[in-house]
């Protein structure tokens, strides 16, 4: 897998601060946005780590138009509802996949039951039997909603939580 998480795993993760950044995560973020050359890092400059291994994955455009993709009965229980929406922007829009890392490491603690995979670009919340998933490119999906109204209420709640956390 060629993800930012993998790239991060190839960073020294010493958080030494010699490059002028408070942590390796910040350094990676600035490297990815073109603001910091890798040779600023002492570990890379001395050859202790091989920067040749680092490939930054290009951010992908949202695959679908913003709006409701579908409203369907749940595959496992037809009395419940599954809704998928596409947002105008994904979590990668501003800062790359990095934001999934900050969601995971910093802000996520305020959302009970949140699980985040920065490497896959997926966040997952379970709420009273409902399952909500957010994908990095800006797709969000709820399963086992009690009805259409419930689905959109839960989705907007999760949207506020996740996007407030990352943007």
């Amino acid at each position: 897998m060629n993800s930012i998480f993998e790239a991060y795993s190839k960073f020294p993760r010493a958080d030494c601060g010699y490059c002028g950044n408070p942590s390796c995560i910040t350094a990676l973020r600035r490297y990815c946005s073109g603001e910091m050359p890798l040779d600023k890092c002492l570990f890379f400059r001395t050859g202790a780590f091989d920067p040749g291994l680092i490939h930054y994955p290009a951010a992908r455009d949202s695959p679908s138009k913003p709006g409701i993709s579908y409203i369907n009965p749940c595959p496992s229980d037809a009395k419940m509802v599954t809704v998928e929406v596409s947002l105008a922007s994904g979590m990668h829009a501003k800062h790359g996949y990095y934001d999934m890392i900050s969601l995971d490491r910093i802000f996520g603690r305020f959302i009970p039951s949140l699980k985040v995979s920065p490497s896959l670009g997926i966040a997952r919340i379970e709420h009273d039997g409902r399952a909500i998933m957010a994908f990095k490119e800006g797709r969000m999906l709820i399963r086992r909603a009690l009805g259409e109204e419930d689905a959109f209420m839960q989705l907007s709640r999760a949207m506020r939580q996740l996007w407030a956390a990352v943007n």
């Binding site: 985040v116 920065p118 670009g121 997952r124």
Partner: protein
């Protein structure tokens, strides 16, 4: 040996970023099959068995040639092959066509797809059948003595799957058919999961009925078949009657035709059946042995690597040699649909999730009424796709489970 890269070029659906691991639900369709169907619509789009003009004659010829190809593919005679929509329709034909009496016993297994389960529950309501379900162990293996105990002199029919669509285990069809025939019972086989993947010979299996779907064997949707042993057709009534099925009709009588035609009421799926004939040719030209060998290599890799995934429960036989390329599993702490959604989003991997139309098996045998994830491989899948699948699944299990 099979040249996967060349084969993949035949399948227009296989584009960059798509990993199709749901062939057990429905397989992809290659260009040679699609082209044969387009040819029908472009060059001889007419009804079969009706017109005297050239296009209609050609349509009839091509349709009948397809019947012959498909029949040969499963080792049946051309008059023994009925062209229907799919296995479900074929099995319904059996349940409604055999003249059951109250108290007749029908024997099934716990591993049946709903298509071979619900029809018998309904037949029980309608005809008062004595329904017996033979259990397997959790891995999917049967004890032949359980079949011996279930099949008695009152047994009219034994209807079993050839390969389980959940566990991937092969059922002992030949042995069961022998037992059933010793008791004077008929034998029906649901071959939906076997015909696409291994060489099937209905004569060698010793069955009286054999149902299969075309859309799982590189054919189009809406075309499938049922083998009914020739001498049995007199005693099995059609599911539908109407145009095409009759020899003669008067005000107060009708006489059905002989052979497969009596079961094929109305205009059949002409293009689709011709497509299915082309699919049979396509698979034969690659060689069924090559296809099973390739799938076995993929299965070995899958079974070698799946234990790397933390918290994975895999159902079915533990040895790669005992199973077809079907892998049902659950990731601890995650619903099967969420796993499927994550695989799709993260790597474009398409797998099935849920109960796989086999609720009795999921509830009674596996105890997972909420379902499982199911990945399956076919001739166009590669070892690197299996690796990507296991890697992505590991990442899912480690991060969001």
């Amino acid at each position: 040996m099979l040249n996967v890269e060349a084969i993949r070029k035949d399948f227009p659906f296989l584009k960059e970023g798509r990993v199709y691991l749901d062939s057990t639900a429905s397989s992809l369709t290659p260009d040679p099959v699609i082209q044969r169907m387009i040819e029908y619509y472009h060059d001889y789009r007419a009804n079969v068995g009706r017109g005297i003009y050239r296009a209609s004659q050609r349509a009839t010829d091509e349709f009948e040639a397809a019947r012959e190809r498909i029949a040969r593919f499963i080792g049946a005679g051309r008059d023994e092959l009925i062209l229907l929509r799919n296995s479900t329709e074929a099995l319904n034909l059996i349940a409604n066509g055999v003249q059951f009496k109250r108290g007749d016993r029908v024997v099934l297994t716990i591993q049946e797809h709903h298509s071979n389960f619900v029809i018998w529950q309904r037949a029980k309501e309608r005809f008062g059948l004595d329904l017996r379900i033979v259990n397997s162990d959790r891995q999917g293996f049967f004890n032949l003595s359980d079949f011996e105990a279930a099949i008695d002199g009152k047994t009219r029919l034994v209807s079993i799957a050839h390969v389980s669509n959940v566990l991937g285990v092969r059922l002992p069809v030949k042995e069961v058919a022998k037992l059933a025939h010793e008791q004077g019972s008929l034998v029906a086989v649901d071959g939906a999961q076997s015909v696409p993947h291994t060489r099937v010979d209905v004569g060698d299996l010793g069955c009286d009925f054999f149902a299969f779907s075309g859309h799982k064997m590189c054919g189009p949707t809406g075309a499938g078949g049922l083998f009914i042993r020739g001498d049995l057709q007199e005693r099995v009534a059609p599911l539908c009657v109407g145009g095409g099925t009759i020899e003669d009709v008067g005000i107060d009588y009708y006489r059905l035709r002989r052979g497969p035609y009596k079961y094929e009421a109305g205009t059949p799926a002409i293009a689709e059946s011709i497509g299915l004939g082309a699919a049979a040719d396509y698979l034969s030209s690659i060689g069924m042995q090559n296809i099973s060998d390739h799938e076995h290599a993929l299965t070995r890799r899958m079974m070698d690597r799946l234990p790397e995934v933390p918290g994975l429960n895999i159902y079915g036989p533990p040895n790669a040699g005992d199973r077809a390329g079907i892998f049902s599993f659950n990731v601890q702490g995650m619903n099967s649909h969420d796993v499927a959604l994550a695989l799709d989003s993260a790597a474009g991997i398409m797998v099935r999730s849920g109960h796989h139309c086999a609720l009795p098996l999921m509830k009674e045998l596996l105890g997972v009424a909420e379902g499982s994830v199911r990945a399956s491989v076919y001739l166009y899948n590669t070892l690197s796709e299996v690796d990507l699948f296991v890697d992505t699944l590991s990442e899912i299990a480690k991060t969001i489970a």
